[in-house]
Symmetry: C2
Subunit: 201 residues, 2 copies
DNA sequence: GTCTATACTCTGATAGAC
DNA sequence: GTCTATCAGAGTATAGAC
């Protein structure tokens, strides 16, 4: 994708991606239509295809942008910090992503649910490597007796599962809680408590 | 839906639902096509529509069947049992559902991700009521000092999130773990340990 | 750069023969 | 009950005027 040069191109490209994120995350790739995206973006359908060669290309661009945002919090977990604080911070940042970027979370969930046809390479490469790297740090902390011993990869899975649940299953969470709840605030307290107990050496 | 009478009708209806579960769970509602379902079921497309009036009807039938299976383990959690054993059993049964019925889990996940357009009524009614009922039991156990105090609804959410993750994100789990792992066996051990620590009074 | 018009394909559903 | 043929609508993408 060549980078747009004029200000109008920048603006329209952004509007398209923003609209596409709305629609793809809510309807899935096949469920989304260019008509919907064009309407949300305030452009005509052919104009959409002036900026991106295809529906597929829009989707691919979104997934690429997403991945970095998604992995950053884990990248920031450092071996020389306080183990429990580092893990709690990671969990908190993932929960904040769920809260503030639920569309991105659902876009990702849709993609993985369907076997990750478009980002399999990144899952099997970048993501797997990053988890392996951070698992070593976790194991070192365990061996130093600073956190409880457990499978480090499943510990990471647990953080993904527990935080993404609040974005991906938002509809269910809110329906079950009923009115007068702040799901993310409550989740923050609950998960703090959970990981304090789980990690204590 | 009137119940089929002949053996052939029984058999074909079952084959269609089985095939549809395959396709809907992997592709989502919009992503699935009647052609795909017909091919997997070994029938012609018009023949499919002889048994079910529409694509929508097939999907609806699947979701209806799913819901009972999905709620049964929670229904079985009894106030007069041993609190920790009851909760552990519930978690284990949910994990077994993820392991043995991953397609059902993904069908459900697809539906919730997209705002549960077709089962919203059941989420807001049956499911919400069941969770409220079981939350009372959990709170009673907490007040009796038999398990640690915490938000009972988020405790239930945590079980859903942690167990369904292994079905819904199966592709990611396996990719990150790499070869030579049994995700569900490892998850079982990890989650046992997690909930022992979390629930201890 | 943007729009109208349109080509072409896919897909859900129906008609009607057997 | 099952099949072939086919319709109608939706949806992606392109042509070409402005």
């Amino acid at each position: 994708m060549s980078r747009p040069k004029t200000r109008i191109q920048q603006k329209n490209s952004q509007a398209i991606l923003e609209a596409a994120l709305d629609v793809f995350s809510a309807q899935g790739f096949r469920g989304a239509t260019l008509d919907q995206i064009a309407e949300v973006a305030g452009l005509s359908k052919p104009n959409l295809l002036y900026y991106f060669p295809s529906k597929e290309a829009i989707h691919e661009t979104l997934l690429k942008r997403l991945l970095d945002t998604w992995l950053d919090p884990l990248r920031e977990m450092k071996a020389d910090g306080d183990p429990i604080a580092e893990i709690m911070t990671y969990m908190r940042k993932k929960l904040e992503l769920s809260q503030h970027y639920p569309r991105e979370s659902r876009l990702f969930a849709n993609e993985i649910l369907q076997g990750a046809p478009r980002i399999r390479f990144a899952i099997e490469g970048e993501l797997k490597d990053l988890v392996a790297e951070k698992s070593k740090i976790l194991v070192a902390w365990m061996e130093a007796g600073r956190i409880a011993r457990m499978d480090p990869v499943h510990l990471i899975f647990s953080i993904w599962a527990l935080t993404q649940h609040y974005a991906d299953f938002d509809m269910q969470v809110r329906a079950v809680l009923g009115e007068g709840h702040d799901p993310f605030a409550e989740a923050g307290g609950f998960l703090d408590m959970l990981y304090q107990k789980l990690l204590a050496p």
